[in-house]
Amino acid sequence: MNDETRHRTEPDGGHTTDGGHASAGERTTDGEHETDGGRATDGGHATAGDELDPSRIDGHADAAEEAFPPLGSIKRWFVTTNHKDIGILYTLTALFFLVFGGVLALLMRVQLWTPGGNFLSPLSYNQAVTAHGLLMVFWFLSPFAFGFANYVVPLQIGAKDLAFPRLNALSYWLYLFSGVLFGVSFFQGQSLAGGWTMYAPLNLPTYMPNVGATTAILALVLFVASVTVSSVNFLTTMHRMRAEGLTYWRLPLFTWTILLTVWMMLFAFAALLAALLILTSDRLLGTTYFAAEGSGSLLWAHLFWFFGHPEVYIVFFPALGVMAETFQTFTGRRLVGRKWFILAMILVAVQSFAVWMHHMFLTGINLQVKTLFMATTIGISLPFDLMVFALIYTMIKGRIRFTTPFLFSFGALVLFIIGGITGVFLGAIVLDYEFRGTYWVVAHFHYVMVGGVTALIGGLYYWFPKMTGRMYDEWLGKVHFGLFFVGFNLLYFPMFLAWETPRRVIEYDPAFVTWHQLATVGAFVLGASFLVMFWNLSRSLFVGEEAGDNPWEFATTAEWAVPSPPPLENFPGTPSYGSGSLRFLTTERALTPGEGSGGAPGVADGGTTAAVGGIDHDLDSRGLGGHDPDRSHDPNHGHESHASVWPFVVGLASFVVFLGLSGFRDGGLPPGMEGGIYAGIAVVGTAFLAFALVGMARQRFRGPAGPFGESWPFDGVENTKLGVWIFLASDVVLFGAFIGAYVFTRVAHGWVDWHVVPHDPTPGLVNTYLLLTSSFSVVLALVAAEKGSRYGLLAGLTATLVLGVGFLANKAIEWNELFHEGLTLSSSVETSTFYLTTGLHGAHVLVGLLIVLYMMGRAARGAYLDDERPVEYFGLYWHFVDIVWLFLFPLFYII
């Protein structure tokens, strides 16, 4: 808000004096823009520490932006893009899915009360097993952690919001609707029933013909979309928008864990997306990847576990972050060996992509590979030893207060130690052979994963006062912990003792009945403990004591330096660590003589520009300057937006599209009415989605404006540009996984025996030229835009469109001929890989062309001439798509 922007002069002015920073030069540049004084002109109602209230923002709303409703209003929760609101939405939704997954677990435990129970049918049990795993891992654990991440990370790094607030809201709505879609799958015959690992070929329609199974897979695809959008957003924010003085080493540990988690997510979920897209295509279009004899089954296992092992850390790292924060706060000590702790986490995050085959020791891989993966697996366990010891030694000489958050964190550490030690058993291959597929594995990973949940529950109590402004009831919190901890161990420890029970069976050896009954009792105790929590927290919302800014002695991070809950834009001034500790730089200071020389108010060229036009303003956070230093200086536009209904609409529309798609099977539709209904839903949904996307693109929306304190090493890369780069990085992994799947399949079937599908490479060669030429035309469009030539820009975009349409038309003709020769998607695994991989690329081209079409419409009315960056960013995407083709062409046409 205005308060902050006008104070900006101070830190930048101050910076030139303490130069020598890695990024000082860059910041000086920003400082120069500062001193043209434009920013100091807007507003004028700011005083130090002035609390920001939403009504003031309402006053600023211009016609194209939505007014921001107050907290109490229902509408607020549909339109909010504020990170704190979205954090609360994530937390509540995740808790809902915890209950959903938890009830399924209780159903399973009831079934296992007797060795041969009849409570559930085998198929119901398999669905419960599957849905429990998927819901807990995907729809509860990570989103729960990301509730905190949303709420806390911007506060900890001194950002007013995430880099792309609307995309953040979009992530949430995609997440919610993906969960709803998953719920719908139970009403379409039968949901997935092959375990959360969804092994092939059991996951194919041959063995799971119901529409519900397809729906569940599509729900996962939608969930991955949410994760990807969210990852791009968080990475951009954390790399670009840190307060002055917050270098990476100085980031709070919770923020560190989220940073690493999000990097892992970006890549791991791209691999999962590849697996899911292939599976979707096998189910909907009839490709034969996973049905292929001799390769399909293992291909799934590789793709899934390449994602699956990093996922363990994706789930666990945020819990580790909560433990680090609460251990420091409640022992009153700084974390021992902080740098080593961080280095250990980085090591784990990198190495997590090199251990996946330890899930496949029994698949007949050779001894050398087994040895390699045993070594990496043991290697990855060692950094955790260091982290555990660091946490334990942090207690020494502390003043430990056993509040509820600390009890949960302490308990989590105990559970994690047990989970870790039992995990070392699995690292020894000879033992792993026997533990494979038994309750040892179940017990081990529940100790680790639910151990992580334990810490996150601690996090909920820790940040509850910040999020609500009220204290929870401490005594009830301790009761919750007691029940939780007893229930947890009663539930999972007996599983070690009954470890010879095979996983996922509905009846078992009567010798183990005592252990299974204990586990069932424990499950209900654990479940009941959450009733205490829900009662405690919801009651405290109304009758809890006022928490004040900081209810915890020895808390250090910035979220505790602002009111509870924090005001809309978080800080009373610009947060800065420039002086060595947190300060909020305010107007008075900015005006102190000798500081910020050019920053006197009123010397303004402000208001001269406002030429931003109605482009997507997510693109418009003020970056480098250089092109147009005055951008966003207009007093009427100098604030940020907080409301947009479009993310919700896009989420809803995606839900409808996917619901419609779920009816397809093997390239066709179910006969009769049912098919018609699904097709109708898909068509309506697609139109609705197109409408929603255009609506979102056309809306004026302003994200947080820079310059930001610390952006190293991306000082020179504006937010949107960085976002595009990060997205493309995940796309690289997506295509990499597709190409990997192709190579794996081809090697399994004999590289030289493979039939290259297009016998004539000419169409592919022509397409290569077309795409390469279109890359030049995009560059020409950008140059024209920079020169301010509307016709040049339009000509460049038109040329790109024509070339791209030529590419697709050429491909259509080529495919049509191949179809006529009887080479369809389902003819063989050769044709499947060819059509699907080049088809995925074609889909990227199509999306690019739709963007070009949209940009042409806007360019015709004069857009992009004073801000050509959207053209530049589109160019990045387009070049990437071209480069992918340069790999695909030889792989699928020549060799």
């Binding site: 060692l382 056993f402 070392v424 038994t438």
Partner: protein, 268 residues
């Protein structure tokens, strides 16, 4: 290192020293017990130490005095709101513990790796002596094919004391064939084979289970494994060449198990 050695010494060792040998069941038992002992020891020590520190440094009236004493340094230097984080001290202790845990884990794994080589490298001598049986999984059962082409469904018969190599595959989805008592396990993957060797040392009837979720009948996807006296086995095997036990008459196989001396997992 010292700890490892002493614990290993407690465990009964087969003749040739520190590496466990014998059947897969023996090997598993020995390694499992060493891990269990050492794991419990480490776990108990670490967790007790955690509780000790948590108690010792608890915040409370009794400790107010102590803070003035030797711990003044720490007490004066509590974290404050808005400070920039610095790495706390205690690095040396941290690294000692880390190094110790590394040594324990790596020596344990190195030790079991020797066993892995032993288990995996067994097949070199007398290739002819190995009895190769093909195991085919299907939803929801197991078919066994003997070298003479005899096929049996639901019952695997093997001679005591002879090395058996199972060549495992699947007709439909991913399964996993395991005989828990004999510590034998192999994935059953469609279009691919995996192998598992074992040498049954005692006669009896054991149960094989499926260890990978494969559909509605997964829980019931069991087979009987009958380890027979070598002579009995030979007699039985002679008679199989002509008549196959096909799925249709598979139930008759159960009547021949009267000599069962051990039974796993109860009767289904």
């Amino acid at each position: 290192m010292h700890t490892v050695g002493s614990v290993v010494a407690v465990v009964p060792l087969h003749g040739e020293g520190i590496l466990p040998t014998g059947t897969r069941a023996d090997v598993f038992r020995e390694i499992f017990w060493v891990f269990l002992l050492l794991g419990t020891l480490v776990g108990v020590v670490v967790i007790v130490y955690m509780f000790y520190n948590a108690y010792k440094y608890r915040d409370g009236g009794a400790r107010a005095g102590a803070v003035d004493g030797r711990e003044r340094g720490a007490a004066d230097d509590r974290p404050t709101l808005g400070e920039l984080p610095t790495g706390g001290g205690g690095g040396r202790k941290l690294f000692l513990s880390f190094a110790l845990s590394t040594v324990i884990v790596i020596s344990l794994i190195a030790w079991t790796y020797g066993t892995l080589l032993y288990v995996e490298a067994a097949p070199t001598e007398q290739e002819d002596d190995v009895l190769e049986i093909r195991v085919e999984a299907y939803q929801f059962g197991w078919a066994f094919t003997y070298p003479n082409g005899h096929t049996a469904d639901g019952t695997l018969r093997v001679p005591q004391g002879e090395t058996v190599e199972l060549v495992v595959t699947s007709r439909d989805v991913f399964h996993n064939f395991g005989i828990p008592e004999l510590r034998v396990k192999a994935d059953a993957i469609p279009g691919q084979t995996t192998t598992a060797r074992f040498t049954p040392s005692e006669t009896g009837t054991y149960q094989a289970n499926c260890y990978e979720l494969c559909g509605a009948g997964h829980s019931y996807m069991t087979a009987e494994v009958v380890v027979m006296e070598p002579d009995d086995y030979e007699r039985w095997y002679e008679n199989t060449a002509s008549n196959s036990e096909t799925p249709s008459n598979a139930t008759t196989a159960n009547s021949t198990t009267a000599n069962a001396s051990a039974s796993v997992g109860g009767d289904r």
